[in-house]
Symmetry: D2
Subunit: 150 residues, 4 copies
């Protein structure tokens, strides 16, 4: 694993951003389980909800002074997810460098009841959309990320 | 059906734009057959190939003086398509108004060997991207569409 | 249009099945508006919610004595949908033959506030999954469809 | 990185499985670059082609005595991919345990001309589909994987 250890992301957390979702009819593949890239799409949906809940909706900031493309993503598929499964999707951790951070690593956990099915993490680098040079993580997001563990 | 009759699109044609493709692992749904909107995605892939083959690649014209959003699409699913099926995908017809056309209807057929599995059609309206007012179909595309039946 | 007239689907209805949804980051295409097949995927998500709300969740009935593959689908794209748009998605109509129906046509409307952006319809044929021979629409769904206009 | 170092996957290789592909209109997101999970979908398409080219087409083996679900996947996004980009997609490495392997790690590289845009890796565990207990990697695939570096 990249920043977070798998076991760290599996632990119950005091503070997480959580949504309930259902695995869709079209999310599965010919083997009848979720097509593995679609799990990362669910993580991104959760990230979009997180940004909106913290006053920084992505469809507005896309036109703004920074973008945060993903430079690394990974997932551990511990148990399969199938059509109709009700899943608790959580952002359970955020890691920022201690000084002048330009990057955040987010940790995700997808569970059915108390059983963890997937843990994942994504690394977002904040850049100027014109030059792709790194810029500081905006204050509004520093506060948002601080609401998570990490 | 909108412009083309289903039986018209099912007939063998003298001139069509054709590609071989495979139904992908992730194109199917929890019922094990192609998720029906994905059939229209295959038609759009074919349209993108058609534009490129006629000197008007969509990734270049997107920045240009016209765009051609779809205002209607439909498909008849005659037989299922499954993961691994080898499909002949064809644009079999194009319809333009006789004078000063600003719109084209394209007809599609997806077959396995000589058995038709899907027929579909899409209506594209040519507009100025700034004003969304209709503009004439560009000459390069008039010629391309004339290479098809219709 | 197939069964329903476009204008019929645009009219406000007394009884519809309705959900709020957001157009996702990944639903759009390189032109920045929703990739048109994805609109039909949203309609299918709504259909899955409708079945569950009427006691017939698709992930359970998929193993059962009937399936209802789509034999026709179509959509009219009246206005674009973009990332972040909040949409009211409704099933506004259901059509069944008057006697011994084996097929249903469902009408959909996607609106932003009171402006209709898309109308669509899908035709589902009920068949035995082993033989693909037509079977009657199950009673539980006859009642569900009767809750809609049409 | 999991099994392979990023730099290892970036190096030119003597033997790889290679396909040319184009980034599709619908592969990008509202930021105009490829939606990051879609890169892993392209890797899976390549894996499906690899299996078929080595006499073990996935749509046939899915019914067979083993399946190979993914238990880990990760990608490094070094440079963006956009609609219309022509990409060389390669499986550049395979790692098997030295004795009685039940698992393979595959390394991928996506390049435009000689510039690497993405490296990725997936870990597939071979299991009995009925019991999900590990089974040996089949001989036909041991030979296929041996044709790659790693």
């Amino acid at each position: 694993m990249f920043r977070f250890e798998r076991d760290q992301l599996k632990q119950p957390t005091m503070s997480s951003f959580q949504r309930e979702l259902s695995i869709r009819f079209q999310d599965v593949d010919a083997a009848g389980i979720i097509f593995y890239p679609n799990v990362l799409a669910l993580c991104h949906d959760l990230y979009v909800d997180f940004l909106a809940a913290h006053g920084s909706p992505l469809h507005e900031t896309l036109r703004g002074p920074w973008i945060a493309p993903i430079r690394h993503a990974e997932a551990d598929y511990l148990r399969p997810l199938r059509f109709g499964d009700r899943v608790s999707a959580e952002i359970v951790a955020a890691h920022l460098e201690p000084e002048a951070p330009t990057e955040v690593t987010l940790g995700y956990r997808l569970s059915i009841q108390d059983t963890v099915h997937v843990v994942a993490q994504t690394v977002h680098t904040f850049v100027d959309p014109a030059t792709f040079k790194r810029v500081p993580v905006p204050d509004v997001l520093l506060k948002a990320f601080a609401s998570l563990g990490g």
